[in-house]
């Protein structure tokens, strides 16, 4: 029997899905814009790779899909990258593949549309304003008289998100947005940006799957977030079992019901203010980003990419969602500006678990600042029976790591 053909459109996991789906017996056709890093070894496992920056153009995407459908009996089509969610869901609706309601996908993708919908549906939100000029932004900043968050209206992961205190920082963030927009061929809009009141507090996320039978709750992740201004994560525990979990899950069910979230995987990020009030930061109709698939796989003994593919193929999610173990991720970011390399040769590590260490700086590399999740130097993933065991294992790994920094002092008076 020939393998079922799956079309994966732009991976949010460096193409690791191709490997896991191939191992699960699927044949994968991969479509990518080529803008983000994919592991060549996994691309080589695909039966076909279509690499073109025009992927973001609806006509081009549709034409490519129709060609693939003439060539293969396509079982399902899905994406794990944020950019392609609207196009893929529209196509799936048109052709009858299982996927999320495209209108909902669009309103989740556009951060301003999402805030407006939240307000309409009775969710509490931070104060926000859609701005089209720097002057509008400056007026909002002056009116708030405290830190605000700059967000591209439709960015990718944490790219372009900045905490803003001054007009100068606002201008810098806007300049970066324009560059980001050009790099993404205009997919990240630069004609408008969203400014929001900054709500400080602990971060949680919730992962769930909705199929035609109901909701499958995977669990809550406790997230230790890096310091402002860049908001890069540096620690995750899954599944988190703290007291806040109940409120996060309750709010997630409220989201599913009021937004009528109809199908697929979903990742919701929350922040809890000092009064215990939960705010949704954002909703992404995919599971949390690389390498967090590992946390689910290890904690629940599943192949989550294969289970999601089966969901898109059949409309039913059948994998185990009871976590027998706990998994953690610790990310190490540049401690300073300079050339940094990391030696982890003596550490036993395997993606099979229970300890997996990814060294993103095996050779000396210059790092200037932490501006997105991509700047991580080291990822330490552990899995054990308890959270405490995971943390101890991660600490033991970190104690064996050698970080070499080559840097130069700076004269503070120099402009």
């Amino acid at each position: 029997m020939s393998a079922k053909v799956v079309v994966l459109v732009e991976s949010g996991n460096h193409a690791y899905e191709i490997r896991d789906l191939t191992q699960a017996g699927y044949a994968v056709v991969y479509m990518t814009s080529g803008m983000y890093r994919n592991v060549q070894e996994y691309l080589d496992m695909a039966v076909e790779v279509i690499r073109d920056k025009k992927l973001f153009e609806p006509e081009f995407f549709e034409r490519q899909m129709e060609e693939l459908e003439r060539k293969y009996a396509v079982a399902c089509v899905f994406t794990t990258g944020d950019f392609m969610i609207p196009l893929v869901t529209q196509y799936c609706r048109k052709k009858g593949y299982h996927n999320l309601d495209p209108e909902l996908a669009q309103s989740l993708r556009n951060k301003h549309a999402f805030r407006e919908k939240q307000t309409e549906l009775g969710f509490k939100t931070p104060a926000f304003r859609l701005c089209r000029t720097i002057e509008e932004g400056e007026a909002f900043l002056a009116g708030m008289n405290k830190a605000i968050v700059f967000k591209p209206v439709n960015g990718n992961q944490s790219e372009g998100i900045r905490l803003i205190y001054t007009s100068e920082e606002l201008r810098e963030a806007y300049e970066t947005l324009k560059l980001l927009s050009r790099f993404t061929k205009g997919v990240v809009e630069n004609s408008a940006f969203l400014l929001e009141e900054y709500v400080p507090g602990p971060i949680y996320s919730c992962e769930f799957i909705k199929d035609h039978g109901g909701v499958h709750m995977l669990g809550v992740t406790n997230r230790y977030l890096g310091e402002p201004p860049s908001f890069v994560e540096s620690g995750f525990i899954f599944p988190y079992q703290g007291a806040e979990t109940e409120a996060v899950i309750k709010e997630t069910y409220a989201f599913i019901e009021r937004f009528q979230f109809d199908f697929g995987p979903c990742h919701i990020e929350y922040i809890m203010d000092n009064d215990g009030q939960l705010f949704i930061l954002e909703v992404n109709p995919r599971l949390f980003g690389f390498p967090c698939y590992w946390l689910i796989n290890q904690a629940m003994s599943v192949n989550i990419f294969a289970s999601i593919t089966s969901l898109f193929e059949t409309g039913v999610f059948t994998a185990n969602t009871q976590a027998a173990k706990v998994a953690t991720l610790f990310e190490y970011y540049p401690p300073t500006q300079g050339y940094i390399s990391i030696d982890i040769q003596s550490i036993p590590s395997s993606e099979e678990g229970p300890v997996w260490v990814m060294n993103h700086a095996p050779q000396s590399r210059f790092v200037s600042s932490t501006s997105s999740n991509n700047d991580t130097l080291l990822s330490v993933l552990t899995c054990a029976d308890t959270e405490q065991q995971c943390i101890e294992m991660a600490q033991s790994v970190c104690e064996s790591v050698e970080v070499t920094v080559r840097t130069k002092p700076k004269v503070p008076y120099l402009v």
Binding site: K53, K54, L179, R182, F183, F366, S368
Partner: protein
Amino acid sequence: MPNASEQALFEIVQQAVVHVLNRKVELNENTSLSQEGLDSITTVRLLVELEKKLNIQFQEEHLSLDNFASIRSIINTLDHYGVTA
């Protein structure tokens, strides 16, 4: 149409890279620019700088990290615009 000797073109690109990295750095034509800190945002800054210096307009399809991986790959990309060594 712009034209320059190989050394002159190398220097133009090198100066543009140093400008966007905003620090002193020694580069040969095969130095990995990502190892030197060039990311998606600074790549676009570099592109804009080269457009100004060479009076060209990069097309979207050339805007990839691969085309800006090293000074050599940038010089190869510039070949599409008639900027040759």
